[in-house]
């Protein structure tokens, strides 16, 4: 049975409360609390203790992808103190300079593979160097990013073969040439099926925005479930 949910950032940029409210009527049983932007982070952290997330089987938190004014050590300290002990913390490897500070998170730290805007963490070889410095970290496999880096899905295959046992969660979206998350298309499902057999049974987090063709969260979840269960690829002709 799939554990399937959405990133709050995909539903409502910078407004996790609105996103959680939107999800209440859905059957999503996973959520990624997104604080990709530095400015969103303090508010999310402060609210963590009071949020009722009990309906979700899986909850993760996405830390800021850039931290210009927040010192890296300060950010890590806050995450360590304020994020509940069992909640995975998804990070981008690009801004990391102080590796030991992040290594102490052990397997709670979930490194996301990157898109083409980033100079590292995009391929199996680049991830290998990162995991050398973060030996216990897990992997947030972003299939949209991986497909953007290599549309043939060869690199995704290599990442899964090498790091399949590290995969903690999956990100799903279609990422276009300008690195914007887009609704899933038929071509995406073709690509997905090339590596589907290698993907472990872990929570799936959609970063796909709602669209006029698919305006409901349950509708999005239906599409992903169909795709995962090997339904006709035509199911994605939205």
């Amino acid at each position: 049975m799939l554990t399937l949910g959405i990133s709050t950032g995909a539903l409502a940029h910078g407004d996790f409360r609105k996103a959680l409210h939107m999800m209440e009527a859905s059957r999503a049983d996973a959520v990624e609390l997104s604080a990709l932007r530095e400015t969103e982070f303090p508010s999310l952290l402060r609210s963590l203790q009071e949020l009722d997330l009990s309906r979700y089987r899986y909850v993760s938190l996405h830390a800021p992808s850039r931290y210009e004014s927040l010192a890296e050590v300060h950010l890590a300290d806050q995450l360590e103190r304020l994020v509940p002990g069992d909640m995975p913390i998804v990070v981008h490897p690009t801004p990391i300079r102080n590796w030991p500070v992040w290594a102490r998170f052990g397997s709670r730290l979930c490194v996301e593979n990157m898109d083409k805007r980033n100079p590292m963490g995009r391929t199996a070889e680049e991830l290998d160097r990162i995991f050398t410095r973060l030996p216990e970290a897990t992997l947030c496999l972003d299939l949209g990013h991986a497909r953007q880096i290599d549309p043939t899905m060869t690199e995704t295959d290599l990442i899964l073969r090498k790091f399949g046992n590290r995969v903690k969660q999956i990100h799903i979206s279609e990422v276009d040439a300008s690195c914007t998350h887009r609704p899933l298309t038929w071509a995406w499902s073709l690509a997905f099926h090339k590596v589907a057999a290698l993907i472990p049974n872990v929570p799936i987090i959609l970063e796909t925005p709602l669209s006029p063709d698919c305006p409901s969260i349950n509708g999005l979840l239906d599409i992903v479930e169909d795709m995962w269960s090997g339904q006709s690829l035509g199911a994605l002709a939205v």
Binding site: V73, H74, R97, K116, T152, D157, L158, R161, F163, G164
Partner: protein, 389 residues
Amino acid sequence: MSRSTSHADDRNRASVSPPILDPSAPEIGIHGEIQTPALHALGKKLDQRWPALEKAQAQARDRIRQISQILQDDKLIPSDAGFVIFGSLARGECTSGSDVDWTLLIDGQADPAHRRVAQQVDQTLVRAKLKQPSPGGVFGNLAFSHSIIHDIGGQNDTNQNITQRILLLLESRSLSSDDVRRRVIGGVLNRYLEEDISLLTRTDVKRWIPLFLLNDVARFWRTMAVDYASKRQERAGQGWAIRNVKLRMSRKLIFVSGMLACFNCYLCPAQEAGDGAPSIAPNYGVRLIAQLRSYTNRTPLDIVAQALDQYAKKETAAQLFAAYDGFLALLDDEDTRRHLEHLQPEAAVKDRIFQHTRDVSHAFQGALDTFFFDDHPELSKLVRRYGVF
């Protein structure tokens, strides 16, 4: 300052390391830097030195550094493009008369500015006094991933398209970020293997020769040979002798390295993926692509050196590389080069310098004949089976 803050500062100072992608870190190096470990290993094994080749490699490295620096300083190359070099510079065989064969390889949204970028690159290289490719040819302009990946065979696979595609696989380097080149090469290799139905449907495949790719490499070699003859007529013999010796040597080398890369997929198949892989039936096609991709990051000489080390007798290897070193020495001598550039075909028979180039090329071919047909039984079987028909 609070105790916790100073403690945090101490930890920060003690533990900060450069980002993994720091250009000064050993993993990165210069974009496009050429390394030939198999070639060096073979030289040691044979206890031979090849001075012209060493000089050519050093010249290539210097020129690559120079161009890479220019591109970095001027921030010329957009993110959806790669500045890709070909020819002697990409092969690490830079001689006195070598030009800079380059292409701006685009893999992204069409942008009218791309043409302006290519022109700016051209002007920048001219200002740096780097010899430019001939105008109107395959190089010195734009190339688009779409036709390179999609038009393999068929009506739209023009001479220019096949040249760009095969040279991208066999002798290219990116002097900007390698992302675009790598992505396009991945797309091309995927095309070659996706068309091979057996690879897709059989689960017992342990080793395979990528025939679609091998045929395209062979087609390219024949195309070069035919174009050589065509140019002789078009240009009324101008530059004929230089093209003749290059066809016999460096162009042939490219073909040989491509053929060896394909044969090696059978002779030395890629191993299974490393630790952590889930216990699922291996996708041989993916491993084959990864293996072929590794060859695209090596020079033709390095691929040939490794194959000679594995499959050839020592004397064969020694003869081949001595001949190739002799060829590079010829090209690096400015007087010899100038002489060959002006030599007309009718005068070639009695020309001492040209006859010397023929002797060098005959020694090279003789070593190739011995290598492919005599030195190693498995290799000669493959050549007989796949190299002729």
